[in-house]
């Protein structure tokens, strides 16, 4: 369980998130949604220990303020929104960096070709020798996810669940790869790990999240299952835009939901 109690964090003296209480249990996908600038990424950065905050954040009961970077690296892996490189690293070199500090938990036999296996999972088989900088934004995002997967390859290590913290993991992906990535996240949770993901697509959120935290102006506006949280009143209010769920478009206008994938 990742647990935040009374967390407040500021950037440049301005408070971005305040009095956040949130818990993300192992075995579940917890989604953070909300309008732009509501503090979703700041909350994720605080949970991953990048930003100092008041209040306490614990992973599996351990206060993250007191643990060393390499210990934290065994407990959780973090996917940033975008990563820009200034040197011509190959895809394989990037993915292998996931094995740097933590413990993948992979068996001895898996360990050697773990980067290739991770790349295959994000549908980038055969990309290992390419230069990262030559890939498209969506491909780069998947390379980074493969790196993150290497870091916590086994969702449970020594009986302890581990966590994926994902900042908009599917925002630059096409629909096929959105589904592939969200399925990876769900599988990770089903195998005993925990996932916290900042998401923008409410349909994908409704489809894959076990719990949803809705943020508004730096605070948690609602926390619960998709059915509890995604109501006309709440969504209209939080996104400041009158919305009605489950409305079909007028006949003749095509629409496509991720749920439509067969």
């Amino acid at each position: 369980m990742i647990e935040a109690l009374g967390v407040t964090a500021s950037i440049g003296g301005r408070p971005i998130i305040a009095d956040i209480d949130i818990s993300a249990p192992a075995g579940e996908v917890t989604a953070i949604v909300g309008p732009n600038g509501s503090g979703k990424t700041t909350l994720l950065r605080t949970l991953s220990g990048d930003l100092r905050s008041s209040g306490t954040i614990t992973i599996n009961g351990r206060d993250i303020a007191g643990i060393k970077p390499w210990q934290a690296a065994t407990l959780r892996a973090v996917l940033p929104q975008a990563t820009v490189l200034s040197f011509p690293y190959t895809v394989r070199e990037i993915v292998r960096l996931g094995l740097l500090g933590g413990r993948s938990g992979a068996t001895e036999g898996d360990r050697a070709n773990l980067p290739d296996r991770a790349l295959a999972r994000v549908d980038l088989e055969g990309f290992a020798g390419r230069f990262y900088q030559e890939l498209s934004g969506g491909e780069q995002q998947r390379v980074q996810l493969a790196r993150v997967l290497c870091q916590v390859w086994s969702p449970v290590l020594d009986g302890e669940p581990r966590y994926l913290l994902l900042d908009e993991p599917v925002s630059s992906l096409d629909i096929k790869h959105q589904l592939i990535i969200m399925n990876i996240a769900r599988d990770f949770a089903r195998q005993g790990g925990g996932v916290v993901a900042v998401l923008h697509d409410l349909n994908l959120t409704a489809m894959f999240a076990d719990r949803i935290a809705v943020m508004r102006r730096g605070r948690i506006a609602a926390l619960g299952t998709p059915r509890e949280v995604l109501t006309d009143a709440l969504v209209s209010d939080v996104f400041d835009c009158p919305l009605k769920l489950d409305t079909l478009p007028p006949a003749g206008t095509p629409f496509l939901l991720p749920q439509a994938a067969m």
């Binding site: 950065r45 991953s48 220990g49 990048d50 100092r52 060393k68 970077p69 390499w70 210990q71 934290a72 690296a73 065994t74 959780r76 892996a77 973090v78 940033p80 990563t83 820009v84 490189l85 200034s86 040197f87 011509p88 690293y89 190959t90 070199e93 990037i94 960096l97 996931g98 740097l100 500090g101 933590g102 230069f131 900088q133 030559e134 870091q151």
Partner: protein, 336 residues
């Protein structure tokens, strides 16, 4: 492997070249079997042992230090154009050295009396370290170092050091000006075993820190936050990197003045050849830096023999066009 061979070949070539015609082969034969018929004249042996050898050892250490310092800076700042020259470390070391040259007979005389011939290297080293510490203090807030602030502060500090250096040059007399010019262009001509002994421990310590740095610098390529997520203690990494760079640069500037372009050209060339992985890049930079500096020094000794060109002229004259060529070639292929 190839780089090791290249270095050995350069050492031999460098031993054999110079104003005197003493040859490397006969020196080696002489060292291996002192009683053989190929024994050297005493004059040649002195040239080899006390002039060329210390010069070669010093040149190798400086070349390795400058190249590694450049590679580490570039990794630290995630910027392929970073160089100790850029963030003011060299300028700070230079200011201290110029101060000793110009004020050595007046206000800094006590320093010169105490340290004797070590005053200049010692001052330059302190200047480099002081610049780095000030820089670190300015750019670190709440235990976190901002690389952007550090880069900008470094440029400002370099400008300040240059201004004070200019002021000192303005008040210098003719003899001092000549010393200054020669020192600032860089030269290995004063190499002695004594100088080697003075800077070797500092440089070797800096070089010894690099295996620890390599892993961390690779992670840092993904950004500070991600490096931390990967399990690297970023604060400690930065601290060790900065001190290592200051030590390597300060020591180099102290004994050789400004030798430009080694720190930028060598890591660049190697990234094209073997890729950016710091575990290979750092040791390879040391080897190639050592080789290149020896070659440049051999050239500086022979082009206008028996006189000598300052080595800084050779590295800049050869390095700058080469650097431009890399930039032109890489344009459009990969972003720097």
């Amino acid at each position: 492997m190839l780089l090791v061979l290249a270095l050995v070949a350069t050492i031999l070539f460098s031993l054999g070249s110079g104003a005197s015609d003493a040859s490397a082969v006969s020196f080696l034969l002489d060292a291996l079997s002192p009683s053989s018929e190929a024994a050297l004249s005493i004059r040649d042996r002195i040239i080899m042992q006390d002039i060329r050898l210390p010069r070669i050892v010093l040149g190798m250490m400086i070349g390795a230090s400058l190249a590694v310092a450049g590679a580490v800076m570039q990794g630290l700042f995630r910027n392929p154009l970073a160089d100790p020259g850029l963030i003011g470390v060299s300028a700070g070391a230079g200011l201290a050295a110029v101060a000793v040259i110009v004020l050595g007979t007046t206000s800094l005389a006590p320093l010169v009396v105490i340290f004797g011939s070590f005053a200049l290297p010692f001052a330059a080293f302190c200047g480099g370290l002081a610049t780095t510490l000030v820089l670190y203090r300015i750019s670190t807030r709440q235990g976190r170092t901002s690389v952007a602030t550090m880069l900008l502060a470094g440029i400002a500090l370099a400008a300040m050091a240059m201004a004070f250096t200019g002021l000192l040059i303005f008040v210098a007399d003719d003899r001092q000006l000549r010393d200054l010019t020669f020192w600032s262009l860089g030269s290995l001509s004063g190499a002695t075993w004594q100088k080697v002994g003075a800077v070797a421990p500092i440089m070797l310590l800096a070089l010894a820190a690099t295996p620890f740095l390599a892993r961390g610098l690779n992670a840092l390529a993904l950004g500070e936050a991600t490096a931390n997520h990967l399990g690297i203690s970023v604060q400690r990494l930065k601290y060790v990197a900065v001190v290592a760079v200051a030590a390597a640069t300060g020591a180099s500037v102290a004994v050789s003045g400004g030798i430009g372009f080694v720190g930028i050209v060598v890591p660049h060339l190697l990234r094209l050849l073997i890729g950016p992985d710091n575990r290979f890049l750092l040791p390879a930079s040391a080897l190639l830096g050592a080789s290149l500096l020896l070659l440049a020094d051999a050239a500086s000794r022979t082009i206008v023999a028996p006189a000598e060109l300052p080595i800084g002229i050779v590295t800049a004259a050869a390095g700058a066009p080469f650097f431009l060529w890399i930039l032109l070639r890489k344009c459009g292929v990969l972003d720097l």
